[in-house]
Symmetry: C2
Subunit: 418 residues, 2 copies
């Protein structure tokens, strides 16, 4: 099939899904979860092929680990699918309604988006995850995974499509682009006649590619420089715990902090505590000049920062540190240095908290809490489709509702406009 | 100023606007409304220059009428600005909130989008209209109007910026791209570092241009083929009134109908009534073969339809007519022929109404009502920014709320993630 045909098939499937009951969709999800476990042998064999190819290409251990499925991981994936069954189906809910003066009953009803295109990298669990979330919300999906997981994904999609078929749903409800070649990605990004939304799940380069080439709305997200600003009224002992958590609990993910901004009045007290803790956790500090002077005698490894350091998403055990004069200076830094994901203020001063909440350009703003909470599960959304850092459609963690749109419904008695 | 500088200035202004009270924004709007009337002479003189240039270029009467301002139109524009003052400011409202199990108080608060880019064609009222709606919602705007209204827009923006300045708001809250040349439009479409949303206000070509070149989310809308499907259980006498209204009340706009779908069981009764009424209103009918046979003896002008006719948005006194077997056949026609804006069913059968509501791919679906109601004012939104036919962010008429985003706010007591 070419992309045009895939798009047509997806759109036709989307019409069927939009008309399917929650019961039908849930049944298909349960069949899918069972089929993943029943077909474990074939799936793991395909995964072994991908792993062998990856090893031959000298791919690093971290990447191999992301590629790898084993019985436990597969069981966890199946369990995630069963969890999606238990979530409330947002489709069909009335968002609001009113009776207009002319007697028309006007309402907005939640409907599926239609067809969702997803482009992602190595992790095979994304294939199941996104297919399940799209199916639950009545959306057809067209998936394009990384070539490192080609065999695994082929096998997973086979299982999904069998589950769809045996549940009486069209197999084109979940399609996978198997052909190699960048032209297929570029083609998908321009399939606006059939595809309603593109979700890139990957790094900044993938997002940039989608932004530049797509003629379809793209959900941009998943990166941005994270900051904690420690105000002069913060409880410094407890502040260290929050900073530590936001930096080191899981250093490779997008809701960690990259830069610590310290009110200059408390720098002399805070920085020794920081140096001790960061030394203990193996975090290298990258400091502006006034801060460097206060840190050089401490136990933590430290070097002088360049301006670019404050524009760097470290995704590892490095932390920028800079002194600022007040909350407004902290906000000015955030605005200049691509704060768009998760940022926090630690303070006891109400007006500073409010100022930071209003002024931070971030999808998620915290007062006296770690930035690590920006996550669909932590926020109680039940599922996470993506974390948006754009302002249209959805911002921050996206759950099932963010895979829907709405339509206006006007009902009357042969009403005409004057 | 180059575009980069305009983008920077707009972003800086957006931060100030996001922090401004409703009172401050309303004050600026009232000053703007007064200034439009106080500067009527200069504005109308500039408009006369544009009109003279347009006449020299042999621009048609309809276009000249769209360009033209006079004291009454200017007063109406000022009055629209005062109306925006009376609308509720959506910014700052809490959309929802909860306390998580860990004690974090998590809420979503409505915030401005930031910077909105608007590209439009001839009508100078759009300049004021969109500037006012953006200002009310705390968004900075970068405007690019058609070259036919260059002088008028220059003068209008001067008035706007003076009003901003005298109200203590940054003049860069509303900026206008005065330079001619397509490269400025293309540049604006790629200014994703500073601009959060693009609204094209114009025809299909402008929307296509934006879709293809923008790296910024674009609100696509304002066109689509409009349909009425007359079911076999419809009240035919009253159906004619609704069809007439949907076709002829204002034939040039986007919420009129282009195609009438007639249940084949009632075609013989309905079509003579239709022919008589359409003849009276000067509407030419374009019919499929079975319908043509029933229409040739009637008073209305009629010709045979080609398939392309059912993909044509007439924007004038032409109406496609086609017979269909039932509501599902009507829906199949809608899906094939780009129904995305406003479509209606006329029926007495509840299950057919529900089937049509669920199945129509339209932003607005009507039961026993004219499609002409798809409009921000008719829907009680108070203002209309655009009519979206895409499914992301907003669908159908967009009011002030659709010029906003939200941010997540998490407040706790030095909370860390386990």
């Amino acid at each position: 099939m070419n992309l045009e045909q895939m798009g047509q098939a997806a759109q036709a499937a989307a019409y069927v899904l939009a008309d399917s009951s929650t019961q039908t969709k849930n049944h298909a999800l349960l069949v899918m979860a069972d089929a993943l476990e029943a077909n474990a042998e074939a799936i793991l064999a395909a995964n072994e092929q991908d792993l062998a190819a990856a090893r031959d290409q000298g791919i690093d251990a971290a990447m191999l680990d992301r590629l790898m499925l084993n019985p436990e991981r597969l069981a966890a994936i199946a369990s995630d699918v069963r969890n999606v069954v238990s979530l409330q189906d947002p489709v069909g809910a009335e968002l609001d309604s009113r009776v207009l003066e002319n007697g028309m009953r006007l309402s907005r009803r939640r409907v599926p988006l239609g067809v969702v295109g997803v482009i992602y990298e190595a992790r095979p669990n994304v294939t199941i995850d996104i297919a399940a979330l799209c199916l639950k919300t009545g959306n057809a999906s067209i998936l394009r995974g990384g070539r490192e997981t080609f065999n695994t994904n082929q096998e997973l999609v086979k299982v999904i499509q069998q589950a769809l078929q045996s549940s009486g749903l069209p197999t084109a409800a979940v399609q996978y682009i198997s052909e190699p070649g960048r032209e297929w990605v570029n083609g998908l990004l321009k399939l606006d006649q059939y595809v309603d939304m593109i979700i890139p799940r990957g790094g900044a380069n993938l997002h940039r590619l989608c932004k530049e080439h797509a003629t379809i709305p793209v959900i941009i997200g998943g990166y941005g420089i994270g900051h904690i600003y420690v105000d002069d009224s913060a409880d410094l002992t407890r502040a260290i715990e929050v900073i530590d958590n936001a930096k080191t609990q899981r250093p490779s993910v997008c809701n960690t902090i990259d830069t610590l901004l310290v009110h200059e009045a408390i720098a002399e007290q805070l920085l020794p505590l920081l140096s001790a803790r960061m030394a203990e956790k193996g975090v290298q500090l990258v400091a502006d000049a006034p801060t460097l002077a206060l840190l050089t005698s401490g136990p933590a490894s430290v070097r002088a920062a360049t301006e670019e350091d404050f524009d760097t998403e470290w995704l590892g055990l490095t932390l920028g540190v800079k002194q600022v004069a007040d909350v407004d200076a902290a906000l000015a830094h955030l605005r200049k240095h691509n704060a768009s994901h998760s940022d926090a203020i630690l303070t006891s001063t109400l007006s500073h908290a409010e100022r930071f909440i209003n002024g931070a350009p971030s999808a998620a703003v915290y007062v006296n809490a770690s930035t690590r909470f920006t996550d669909g599960a932590q926020f109680g959304l039940g599922a996470e489709v993506a974390v948006s850092t754009q302002k249209l459609h959805a911002r921050g963690p996206m759950g099932l509702e963010e895979l829907t749109s709405y339509k206006w419904i006007g009902q009357a008695d042969y009403l005409i406009r004057d």
